[in-house]
Symmetry: C2
Amino acid sequence: MPSFFPAALENLIDRFAALPGIGRKSAQRLAFYVLSLPEEEAAAFAEAVLEAKRDVHTCPVCQNLTDGDLCAVCASLSRDRTTICGVSEPRDVLSIERSREYRGLYHVLHGALSPMNHVGPDDLRIRELVDRVAQGDVAEVILATNPDTEGDATAMYVSRLLRPFGVKVTRLGFGVPVGSNLEYADDATLLRALEGRREM
Amino acid sequence: MPSFFPAALENLIDRFAALPGIGRKSAQRLAFYVLSLPEEEAAAFAEAVLEAKRDVHTCPVCQNLTDGDLCAVCASLSRDRTTICGVSEPRDVLSIERSREYRGLYHVLHGALSPMNHVGPDDLRIRELVDRVAQGDVAEVILATNPDTEGDATAMYVSRLLRPFGVKVTRLGFGVPVGSNLEYADDATLLRALEGRREM
């Protein structure tokens, strides 16, 4: 059977199929869609890829993604500079901000420790966090890594490194999600919720 | 709440989110993935979009996508030039080819009639099919549009246009899919399967 899609189309399908969570059929659909776009919109799509790659880099302080010298949070004068919230990924910053409660700074670790996937401490931005704490203005570091094995291990590892500096290190509270149903809560979550119970 | 992603990243997320079947969260994941790619791979992705758009056009005979003067099927000397299989989309050509049975030519209509979505006969490549049949070498046109309302309407419309040329017009057989279970076949399919029963 000869190849029925032109080489340039096959190549575009391959590129889409290499993206995470995109299967072969979806990649075909996306490629056909791009072909159906007006010339200037397809060009704008390509330009968006190049521009994001060119303009976006990590903030030298908190390691979050930014296109400026500092990210918006680090540059803001209204944030509490004595608290740092450590998260795994840039998108987690958005999640914490959505709570509209947190007014401190962030530190993006860019991953979580995972020996299985050969991700060690040197692959994360842990040293940068220790350096910030070592400068002395930080009172508390809230570790908001994911509540899974890798997130737990990362939080544990980082908290040990920070202990010598006498800084308070906390972790996000675990428990049953608000609005959920106890009947469907898994055992591990219920156990954590019991451990984390509060007086009323 | 200020925007927490740099403008170039927001723009890339928007571009991905505009693709069919890609929601906001998926678009974020794809954009972060592109940012994590090595410089040259991100550039190759952008180039793949531009190249596909530049190199791929429709075959002047069958309207399938190609990067040559004619598509591979129309250019082949081993295909039966008296039979044309009419399909809605370029990807449908691949489906028919997978059967390894069909040796005729194709005609890609690029859609199906859909008054609800303002798709009329002039939006499809129907005239091009009529022109091919009018040239006189065609003995049979197999209409392989989708077995849904729009595919039915398109097949009906095209068959009426082709009738004056005395060409044989057929439609793909309907029925229960091979390997499926009667218990789960829907009523419409069973009705069509009964109508299309064959002597053993």
